[in-house]
Symmetry: C2
Subunit: 351 residues, 2 copies
């Protein structure tokens, strides 16, 4: 008898307030077979699913959210890693490991063969890492520090939101390259965490007073690279501290995303771009998966991981049936590290 | 008997008002010989001298000007082209053609062997062109359009101050590469001139009303490259019209150079840099003379010039003794085209 399939479905949308276990149900479903594949489809065995804060938006059922909503009665979906058991697509073959943001919360499922990224087969590393240190936020850090800013030993890099998913990896990639690393974060705890990751200096941008002076104090020789996650006033202060030929890896401007025409911060120090020969380089990580940078990133960070030279906390929950509880725990901040659900058993994890 | 040397000297500084011929004197001086060279010096025969508006500042005698003043009783100096007749420097040899901004207004002179750029020997082109179409403003256009923005056929380029020394060459380099060229200039006459150089569309930024709308009208498919000479509000309007993966060659922000902390324009559209993956690339042309870009520029533009495929007006005055009158004519706008003084005779011009 073939093992039954398990699916996590939404019972009802939760517009506001805390969701509960009763808002989800675990269903036994039939096991999909390769015979039921239509053209250009893949049969996926789910290995790991990511549990992320943005999923609260999906639970709400709001149609105007920037993420697609979960639908009552349907299976949840999100970031995950799986292995292909069968394929009718020329782009994928049995055994390929894939990651993407439309993996179903189901042990096995059939999907159209689009929107997934093949990840290089690696040895000795749990595929869970592809949702963490080898995942999108880390690759974002790599693209900014390495591909765009072309960080060199001896340079000084300033990183805002340095304790975040991107920032903490940017710190470690820069330190590994011999840079002097300055981190800015929004609480004293986060500042301590940033220092524990190897930053040479760090400060609390909410309590430091004048930002330009705070950066100057932390980086008295000036800033060669600014990894911007926040934009606005902090970007302006960074511009005032840039050295000649400085590069700004422009990853995000979260301080401005809710701004209106009236409240948007207006940048005054852009005039420094010419005399200082600065480059401001906007990027979106998804443009880089098809470039050699991605394989270089996986190779470098996998090696650092195996050698214990990079820190990243994973919090593993075992069993898809425990996924909803993991999500509730996340909303209450009970996790310590990146939360993932291990769906396949150890035996099934073997790639 | 060896021919005597001629030198143009300043009689008195002219703080304000129109200078007259009486403010200059033409002196016969002794001909310098290679025997009088000290270590690391060059003996230069002047071929052409440039007559430029910025020289008014040098005449004033003000100590706080951004350019070094001319001194009463001393020889004038400025941009020029010369040929080396003798050298005690390992960097220069007899026959080298040099350009720089410290050439003396003298037929022959001795200088320390620093601050000059060697220019490639060219065939069939007057060295006067090195003060014009092969000079610094043109190379600035090349660096922005080619080296930094990497202009490609089919793209749309927007150029501000398009009728200026840099802009008019940027237009022609972009057209030669098959781009759609949009120029902005500050008078209707200048707009006509911009169109006559081949721009597909041009508008008067002083009378067009809303800048963002004016750019959108001129470039309905958006802007791939913005060659910025002005900064400020125009830059903001350009940012609002940039296509994905657009590049801004940041050459200058003349609209902001006299701004104070209070009057400086504050940029609101910088937030587009991330979602549109824009690059803002500040540069100063002097960083590029030592790169292969310079030889590539000379080769490309010399060829265009010989083939009649690039326009650039030169206004030649013959004889160093007529230099002061040329300067006065410039201040009255009597020149039509780039004003240069031909110092050496045709026979002496042979390189």
């Amino acid at each position: 008898m073939s093992p039954s399939n398990i699916s996590v479905k939404l019972v009802r949308n939760v517009a506001s307030g805390a969701p509960t276990l009763a808002d989800f149900k675990i269903e036994s479903t039939s096991v999909p077979t390769k015979e039921s594949l239509q053209n250009d489809q893949i049969l996926v065995r789910t290995l790991y699913l990511s549990v992320d804060p943005y999923m609260r938006g999906r639970l709400s059922g709001a149609q105007d959210s920037y993420v697609e909503s979960f639908v009552a009665g349907k299976t949840l979906f999100g970031l995950g890693v799986g292995v292909i058991e069968a394929s009718t697509s020329p782009d994928y073959k049995e055994g390929d490991i894939i990651t993407g943001d439309t993996l179903k919360w189901e042990c096995k499922f059939i999907a159209n063969a689009r929107g997934f990224t093949k990840i290089p087969a690696s040895s000795g590393i749990s595929p869970a890492n592809y949702l963490g240190i080898l995942g999108m936020p880390s690759f974002t850090a790599y693209v900014g520090v390495v591909s765009l800013a072309k960080a060199k030993a001896g340079e000084t890099i300033l990183i805002s939101a340095a304790s975040g998913a991107v920032g903490q990896v940017a710190i470690q990639l820069a330190k590994a390259r011999g840079l002097c690393v300055i981190g800015a974060a929004g609480s004293d705890d986060k500042v301590e965490f940033v220092k524990s990751l190897g930053a040479d200096a760090a400060f609390n941008y909410k309590t430091c007073g004048d930002l330009t002076a705070a950066i100057k104090k932390a980086a008295p020789n000036g800033v060669d690279i600014y990894f911007d996650n926040v934009g606005g006033e902090f970007l302006d202060a960074a511009l005032a501290n840039m050295n000649s030929f400085g590069r700004i890896a422009e990853c995000g401007m979260i301080s401005q995303y809710n701004a209106t025409e009236e409240t948007a911060y207006r940048v005054k120090n852009l005039i420094r771009v010419v005399p200082k020969r600065l480059s401001i380089l906007g990027f979106i990580v998804s443009d880089y998966y098809a470039k050699p940078d991605y394989a270089n990133f996986i190779t470098e960070v996998s090696t650092m991981l195996k050698e214990g030279k990079i820190q990243y906390k994973l919090h593993e929950i075992v069993g898809l049936e425990n996924g909803p509880q993991g999500l509730l725990d996340l909303f209450e901040g009970k996790n310590f590290g990146k939360l993932v659900v291990k769906v396949a058993s150890d035996a099934q994890q073997r790639l």
